[in-house]
Each structure stands twice: as C-alpha cells, then as structure tokens.
C-alpha cells in the first residue's frame, strides 16, 4: 500500500499560519494503516498545532475531520457541508487524496501535512519498506520477485553492477544489493538462464499521467460517448 510520513511540524505550522480556521482532513485508507494520517494522527497533530499556535498568540485554529478514503469522491460528500466554514484546508492523505480534495474545493487553499513516500510493505509497527515505483511495466517475473527499479539504486536491468560489495549496495547504508538477491534467488530456483538474456531498454510507461481503464469495464464508458 501507499506509505507516507508526516512532514516536519514547523513546515506544517508555517503553511497554515496565515489562515484563521483550518480543517485538517485525515484519511482512513493507506495513510491510516501506516500511522501517518488517520484519525488518531489528525487529532494528535491538531492538539500540537493548536497548542503551539495559541502559545504564539496566533489566531489560527485547526479542526479535525477524517473520511474513509480521500481518493474516492463518494466518501467526500459529508465534507461538502463542513468545508465552507473554513478558509484553509490541510490533508493528511497521500498525494492522490490531497489532489482530489483540491479538485473538489477549488477555491480553498489546501496544504499537505504528509509526504507521500512509496508503495511498500509493513515490516514492524511504524516501519515500512519501499517495494514498488508503479512503473507500469512489471518485470518481477523475470527478476525472481525482486524489483530492480525500486530496490537497485541504479535501476539496472541486466545484473549487479561492479559496485556491489559483499552483498551490499555501493551506496552503503547496509542496503542489500537487489541484483545479488535476484541472482541468489534465481539460482536457488534453477532459473539463472532467465537473466543471461539481455533485457532491452525499458519502454517507460510512467512519463505522462496514466488513466487506468479496466478492460472489463471499458465498454460501458465507450457506450456513453
């Protein structure tokens, strides 16, 4: 799922200081799961913001509202009655949620309170690892289920570079070499032959905004045209 991390407190506070009534909108989806922007995080952030802002004699006050999912308009209707009371909006959803809010309330300034980081997996409570960059051209079948784009620092497609250091990436930080892992896994599965073939240049699918239309549903929209 999408993983996000709260922005630095000062950055959030400065962004909303010029507004009197701000609504901080949480999301019950991915950002809630990764403990970045669900109801609990919205309430906690607002407590801290209101305390800090009143301590500085600022007029800004922040209220809370958490929707089930900010990336689907069906879940935003309850907000329509509430939003007009505010002169500024803040969102703790991922970048998609922030943008859908901005689209729905185009006259309201909106500020993100989290940085959207990655599509990743849960390791421990509060610890997540990036796993996918949504390139749109999945190669995991060829690489033993290990992503060379998100896990190799150079996004290589043809095996480990010369910088791999006893199984660790040349950039250090104890990051395992993705291609060493790919090699070991394929070797264990007797599939090294798969990566002996040259993988030709990637035809990048993520360089323009993508619209995803599932084949099974395409017909119903074509009919409407």
């Amino acid at each position: 799922m999408v993983k996000a991390k709260k922005k630095p407190f000062e950055e959030i506070k400065q962004a909303i200081e010029g507004y009197t009534r701000v609504l901080n909108i949480g999301c019950g989806g991915c950002v809630s799961v990764c403990l970045a922007g669900g109801q609990k995080e919205v309430n906690l952030l607002n407590l801290q913001l209101n305390a800090a802002l009143s301590g500085e004699n600022k007029a800004t006050r922040v209220d809370s509202f958490t929707v089930e999912r900010q990336c689907n308009e069906a879940f935003l209707t309850d907000l329509d009655k509430v939003v007009p009371r505010y002169d500024g909006l803040m969102s703790m959803a991922c970048g998609a949620g922030v943008q859908l809010m901005a689209e729905r309330y185009p006259d309201k300034p909106i500020f993100p309170a989290v940085n959207t980081i990655a599509i990743g997996v849960d390791r421990q409570i509060g610890i997540y690892e990036e796993r996918c960059r949504a390139c749109g051209e999945c190669v995991l079948g060829y690489t033993g289920g290990i992503c060379p784009i998100s896990r190799c620092a150079k996004g290589l497609f043809n095996g480990p570079c010369g910088g791999t250091n006893n199984g660790i990436c040349e950039i250090g930080n104890e990051i395992p070499c993705a291609w060493q892992d790919i090699y070991e896994r394929l070797k264990a599965q007797n599939r090294v032959a798969d990566i002996l073939k040259i993988k030709t240049a990637m035809q990048w699918q993520n360089q323009t905004r993508r619209m995803i239309v599932q084949d099974e549903y395409a017909a119903r929209y074509e009919d409407k045209k």
């Binding site: 150079k154 290589l156 010369g162 791999t164 040349e170 950039i171 030709t200 240049a201």
Partner: protein, 306 residues
C-alpha cells in the same frame, strides 16, 4: 570500420596499453593539456572520465577534444547516471562528428557518492543497454527508437568488467552479456587479487569469450600504504589482498610509491603472457606525470605505429 588506433593495435594482435585522464573541476583547458602531455606516445588511447565519483567536471567529450588537439586518441567514457537515451545518442553523434572513435559504456558511480547527492539519477538505460544502443547505431544505422541515422557513428565500443565483485560466478556471465550487447573491448576494474583475475580470465577463455572481445587488464599502482588501505576498506568492488598491504608495509615510507610501481610492473609482465588478455589499462589516478616512467619500467615502449 572505425579508424580507431586502439582497434588497429588490438586487431593486429599487439599488446595494447591505455591510460586515463580525469577532466578538471572547472573550464581550465591548461589543466587538461598538462595532464595530456606526459601521456603522448606512451599510451594507445586515453580514457576521459565522465563526472567520475559523481563529481561535476568538464564534460568528457569536451576534454576528449582537447586531448585530440594534444595528439592523443581519447576513449570517451559515458555513464548512464546523467543522461537519458536522447542525450546519450546525441552526444555519441556529436563526439563522433568531432573525431572521437572509441567509447566506454558504464553505469556510473551512484550520485550519492558525489557532491550533488540528491540529484535525480537518470538511469534511463543501463550500461548493457547503452552498449547495445551504440552497436545498433553503428551496425544497423538506427537510433534506439528505430529511425535511420544519417551517417551512423562508427564507434569502437568498450565496456567495463569487475572480476572481483560478488557473486563471483556471475561475473563471467555479465561479461558474456556485454559481449553479446556489442562490446568490442573490455577494461577491467583495478586488479590487485591476481588469483581471482586468473580464475576469471580462465573462465572467459573456457567459454570462448576472449575470442570475441579484447580484454584490457586494469592496473593502478599504489602510491602509498594509505592508498592501499583506503582502497581495501572504502572503494566499492575493490579487492586488495593482504599481501599487497604487507609488501607496502615492508618498505620505507619514502619507497612505498616505488614499491607500488614495482608491483604494477610485475602484474603487467604477467598480463603480457596471460592467454586471453590483450592489453593493460593503466589508471594512474592523478599520477599522469609518472606514466612515462611506469610505461618504461613495464617494458611497453615504444608504442606501435599503426
């Protein structure tokens, strides 16, 4: 065919000897000329590095043109870190148009090593895809996108190999992929672990790879014990055995540089006789002025006229 002198020497079966020149961190033309001078007549071709260690320097093709003016034949290095496929192909055309006929296709050190650690790394294509692209431009006269090239660039295509990085048994397969992609010659990582180098070359011989590609063994003389320790501990993919450290420890500090050159010359002697090795690539890092002395001691002079 390209008019590369390096290609002619290798194809004639003579032992090649290449050098390296790192462009300056500025537009100091004099600095390039100074580094070029001691290399004239000493090497068959000189690698011009491309933002090595991810530090901004004078562009590789520009320094290569200055090297040509000085009478050297450049080996134009290109890394995948800084350019996408459009810029790379444009630079290959431009470089060839100005008389650059050799190039070395590399992944490049990651940007986090350098002084712009948060630059966006491009890596649109990888080093093997770059080799394949330059081969396609030359042999098929086509851009990667498929369109026809008006006067295809006839590059002599080089690639790097690191016989020491893990997993060792993969390394010869990576070499095979680079050859299949179109590499004409290979320059290896700096070699200190001769046992591993011998084993890797033997594998390449057994697989028939050395009949398809010219392997130039990478040699970097140790300037000091400190350098040897640094390379052992800090440089990714470098394999410095303890016996090298011990040899440098065994001589007076003032003699360490001479001992480093002696070790390098012993290696070069062995490479001259090693089946499957076609030459030596000398990477005398910031030691260009000592290349004549090393070339003399290594017995690779005079360089052949071709």
């Amino acid at each position: 065919m390209s008019d590369s002198r390096l290609a002619k020497i290798l194809k004639s079966g003579q032992f090649a000897f290449t050098g390296e020149l790192g462009p300056p961190r500025g537009s100091n033309v004099g600095a390039v000329r100074e580094k070029a001078k001691p290399l004239i007549g000493m090497v068959d071709s000189v690698n011009i590095t491309d933002n090595q260690t991810a530090m901004v320097r004078m562009s590789s093709w520009a320094a290569a043109l200055i090297a040509i003016q000085e009478g050297l034949e450049p080996n134009y290095q290109m890394v995948c870190r800084d350019r996408n496929r459009l810029a790379m192909q444009a630079d290959v055309l431009g470089a060839y148009a100005h008389g650059i006929v050799n190039m070395l296709c590399l992944s490049g050190d990651h940007q986090q090593f350098g002084d712009h650690p948060n630059a966006k790394g491009v890596y649109d294509i990888d080093s093997i895809q770059l080799i394949d692209m330059v081969r396609k431009m030359r042999d098929e006269g086509l851009f990667l996108g498929g369109a026809k090239i008006d006067e295809p660039p006839q590059m002599f295509i080089g690639a790097a190999a690191n016989p020491f990085a893990e997993p060792f048994e993969w390394r010869v397969h990576r070499l095979a992929k680079k050859i299949e992609a179109g590499a004409d010659f290979i320059q290896t990582q700096c070699i200190y672990n001769m046992d591993k180098m011998r084993a890797w070359v033997r594998q390449a011989n057994d697989m028939g790879l050395t009949e398809k590609v010219y392997i130039l063994a990478g040699v970097t003389p140790m300037k000091s014990l400190g350098m040897a320790r640094y390379m052992k501990a800090k440089v990714p993919g470098m394999d410095v055995p303890d016996e090298i450290i011990k040899r440098l420890q065994g001589v007076d500090k003032k003699k360490q540089a001479d001992e480093g050159i002696k070790i390098a010359c012993e290696q070069i002697e062995e490479f001259k006789e090693m089946q499957g090795v076609a030459g030596v690539h000398l990477m005398a890092i910031e030691w260009e002025h000592r290349v004549p002395e090393i070339a003399e001691l290594a017995g690779v002079l005079p360089r052949p006229e071709v």
